[in-house]
Symmetry: C2
Subunit: 670 residues, 2 copies
Amino acid sequence: MVWWKASSVGHDINPDLASERASPSFSVETLINIVDGGVEVTRLRRSVVSEINKDPVFSREYLYFKTPSERYESAVRNTFHLKNKIKSLGWDEDGPEIEYVYRALGGEVGLNIHKVFIKTLSTLGTDEQIAKWLPLASNYQIIGTYAQTELGHGTYLRGLETTATFDPTTQEFIIDTPQITATKWWPGDLGKTCTHAVVLAQLHTKGKAHGMHPFIVQVRSLRDHTPLPGITVGDIGPKMAFEHIDNGYLMMRSIRIPKENMLSRYCEVLPDGSYIKRGSDKINYFTMIHVRVSLLRGEVLESLMKACTISIRYSAVRRQSELKPGDREPKILDYQTQQQKLFPLLASCYAIVFTVKHVANVYNDVYKEIRMDNFNSLPQLHALTAGMKAFATEVCSGGVEVCRRACGGHGYSLYSGLPTLYTKVIASCTYEGENTVLYLQTARFLVKCFAGAQSGKPVPPDVSYLSSPLSSGCQATTHSDFRNPEVYLKAFEHRVYRLVASAATKIESLVLSGVEPYMAWNNNSVELVKASMAHIHYLTVKVFISSLNSLSNQPEIKTVLKRLCDLYALHGIFTSAGDFLQHGYLSGKQLDMVTTAYLGLLAEIRKDAVLLVDAFDYTDYELLSALGSYDGNVYHNLLEWARKNPESKKVSPVYENYLKPYLQSNQSKL
Amino acid sequence: MVWWKASSVGHDINPDLASERASPSFSVETLINIVDGGVEVTRLRRSVVSEINKDPVFSREYLYFKTPSERYESAVRNTFHLKNKIKSLGWDEDGPEIEYVYRALGGEVGLNIHKVFIKTLSTLGTDEQIAKWLPLASNYQIIGTYAQTELGHGTYLRGLETTATFDPTTQEFIIDTPQITATKWWPGDLGKTCTHAVVLAQLHTKGKAHGMHPFIVQVRSLRDHTPLPGITVGDIGPKMAFEHIDNGYLMMRSIRIPKENMLSRYCEVLPDGSYIKRGSDKINYFTMIHVRVSLLRGEVLESLMKACTISIRYSAVRRQSELKPGDREPKILDYQTQQQKLFPLLASCYAIVFTVKHVANVYNDVYKEIRMDNFNSLPQLHALTAGMKAFATEVCSGGVEVCRRACGGHGYSLYSGLPTLYTKVIASCTYEGENTVLYLQTARFLVKCFAGAQSGKPVPPDVSYLSSPLSSGCQATTHSDFRNPEVYLKAFEHRVYRLVASAATKIESLVLSGVEPYMAWNNNSVELVKASMAHIHYLTVKVFISSLNSLSNQPEIKTVLKRLCDLYALHGIFTSAGDFLQHGYLSGKQLDMVTTAYLGLLAEIRKDAVLLVDAFDYTDYELLSALGSYDGNVYHNLLEWARKNPESKKVSPVYENYLKPYLQSNQSKL
């Protein structure tokens, strides 16, 4: 088997993996279509992945051996090659194919922030600005980045320190990073690539500050790519992953740019320095939401789906220790402890697949409303996407690491594919809004809704539980009662209600006792974060259940996904038992039943586990994992890969310089 | 400030950090001595670190920029330079200085498994074997490794497949890796360095198998370092960390070695092929325990202590968002959510500092007994060290990652020092025994002790709770009651008792109902792991409390450490609340009190937090972190480091090859 080929079909399948696929209880192909969102989607995705895979320029063969510089170069090469390929294949640059291209290449593409530059220009520029800059950017005659985050300032945008001061005598803005903490830091494509940047800066005109605005600033010469006078620009250096991206820093010392370089669709500075705001800039807010929605599937969920594929296939091949005395070493997937690591994550993949679809639907509905100038649902959408971003990035990045460790020593080798998945996905907990900050934003929405519900106001559908009468306790009497979705959904509802109510009540009573509101909020923020998590957790269970209902014409698949839904919910109760017990909603005995039902499900899911990851339909080319290949020939892959190590063919100076003098001294003794 | 210097003392301290140190409530220096284990230890440690730091050969300046090959080379260079330095300074190769050398160099030293080779030889070799091989190895005239783990086999040693078959006609052993899964895989120093290996192989003689035995096999020529005939050897390739170590693979095709190459202190093959065992080989077992004990402090705990130092100092300097409306952005350390991430980890450092001392004491006591051929305490020591290894590696590696994420975007930069700490320490969850396997070994001890206690037998001191009468419920009536160590220790005792009893009872009743014991065990293994964790958790609380009692002559320090002890325990209850509620030991109301006490402690510890990490006494040279330097000039450090990036001085071919043609097309438009 040549491990980096698209698929190993046609080669011998490891019998330990073949046996897992021998008698499926459901059609894997149908489940693939469900995960994708339709037969047509599957067809398109496969054709795109196959096009990419068969193109030798896109070879991923030596990816794990490359230095950061080599990674950067090949990502840029991929970008330009892709541009030509898209044209020659007649794909649309904004078409559905592009998502699958990224999937196939594992994101190993450069100039991504150049696209953000174009998007920002198109959204925030006037028609004249778009007419001037867009063709240049689209043809790479200029390359842009988006420079917002600063060395001393991240998620809190009001704290940014870069200034843009209008000088009416010359009709210019003076852009300045007044101190070290104002240095722009992190923008992708800035370190070595871009010529221009949209710089976010505090606008000052006529002695007044007007908050953050976007300005186009040229940073490098178009003639020879050297930094322009007054500009200090460079690469911020090595990171935990994303070696292929040249994240950069940028200092600007009194850089003068023409007045026309302020992106002015929603606000403008007149020649005399007066400031005018026009229209609503709530749409900017919406852009941020859009980014969060789209990264969930593309970056975050994909990582966990791949990690589950790799670790579950490997666990069906790896044999270790003794279970039944005298028997052959069992597959490690037969150990309850291994099942308990991997199956709840498998279930989480499906829960998040369905929830991401749900979030996308809500997003599209609200988008339609907003285009009719109805912003009523924006707070709910914001709370949903902020909380879901935090929840999904934590479940997925934590989960990838559990998968990696579940592969033992081999999970520590880059060949497993798992370290790279982890070091990349973990960044998503911080970028596009730090998770704790996001959870607290969702919490603010929940507390507000709770207060509304207390005073009899209607609440948005996602938090309808806040105005329903609270049931006093769970009615389950046997462990099989806990396989009833109504039973566990009610438990999740009760839990989140209690957590929201408790935090809101504590804050209220502190404020009534004279504590300043900001202090009351801060002193309850640990519990507010908990309430937000519980809210999203509840939503994912709810969406999973309702997604099952749409599968009535696929009874076999419904049966197997129902098991995963049960597992997802019961694992949640098992691991956060305190929340369910504290107010007596569950009794200790009922928690015992939950435990029995939960552990019993692990054994039930065991037989379908490999098929359930096969349904994610990753090719070997995409997985790039010696442990996760479709044919399961893991040891062969590991050894072949080690022998291909280009490093091993180089002569290390270590032998000549350090070892030889010792080894050759006094050899007579041997 | 030049960031990689040993200490920034003498430079300007960031006022935000200076203010944290302005009015200490205790002597940091005294606490440093307590953590070290005495004034003399502190003195010695500092003098060693200072010697290493001032030696230019040991410069760590460009560590984060180095390729794996460069890391390997400098680790080997360090090793040989260190050998000479130790000699010239008159240190003992096995003396206490060596631990501090490793600490100072962050483990960036090569040929570590060569030392294991020497240790194995000295322990398992006969006097003649030692006389022959030890001088060669000590003078690096040969370089050895220890080859145990195989491609298909890890923690379960009985599964190893490499064979050593005795051939009486030639008085040789034939060493063979009969199939791909038998390939030796992972040994350090094997990939590019060693000439010899102690190979662990299944001994076959006279048609009978005798289990694993150690054999000295030469793998590379002493003349030119090429692999010997029949040997295939190489580097296993890139890993998540440990780039400086050449982990390797080794295949042996019917390699013949003289009979004298079997290490024969405890067993021997006679010329006619008869197999003789002599003495007890329990001592081997003890070696494994020794390794686990020593890695706890050196590799595992140090990582969390460094990560806490970096993240807490940074959190006292980083300002973000708005707390009180209109005020300056607050230090992020003032947010409850940030405190809740970092302070329980700070408390865990101290809990583990004390527990590691305790484990070392137990180890030394048992060692004395064993030297008098009394092996009675070995099972208890094994259970303690196996469980503690699993517990500490999980707390510390998980904790390092929490610290890293608590530093936001900058925690993702290698300059923070945190990614490197994480990717290294996480390996400890797998090496020297996979944690789940270790927890289950401890569980077997607990279940056995439980059965003993039920039938009235005496139990070892660590599990005395199994034979004490169980109190029916917690007596606390206010949140301040939970600041009483007796109160929370009892809660931990009750929790572990319940978990052990529950798992043991379930297994017993399954077996009584006819289920095979191995199956009953496997079906309860999730709960058995939980019980083991709870047991070690309980021990750490108990040891922390008793360590406080020895501080009566240091009342200020006792006060501040008592707060950490309370926090450590209450955080444990808060995060595993289900275990304490399920059987009614705590009521829901009492859990509310725990929460109040726990959150209140965060605010109390806030003022001492920086001093408590200063007491770990890491120099900037050791931390190698732009965020964690003693002077707190984090932004200056980050920027200076970025500008030093050797990569940024190289001309990337990307501009000429890819960007220039586009950027220079049709420039008339600009």
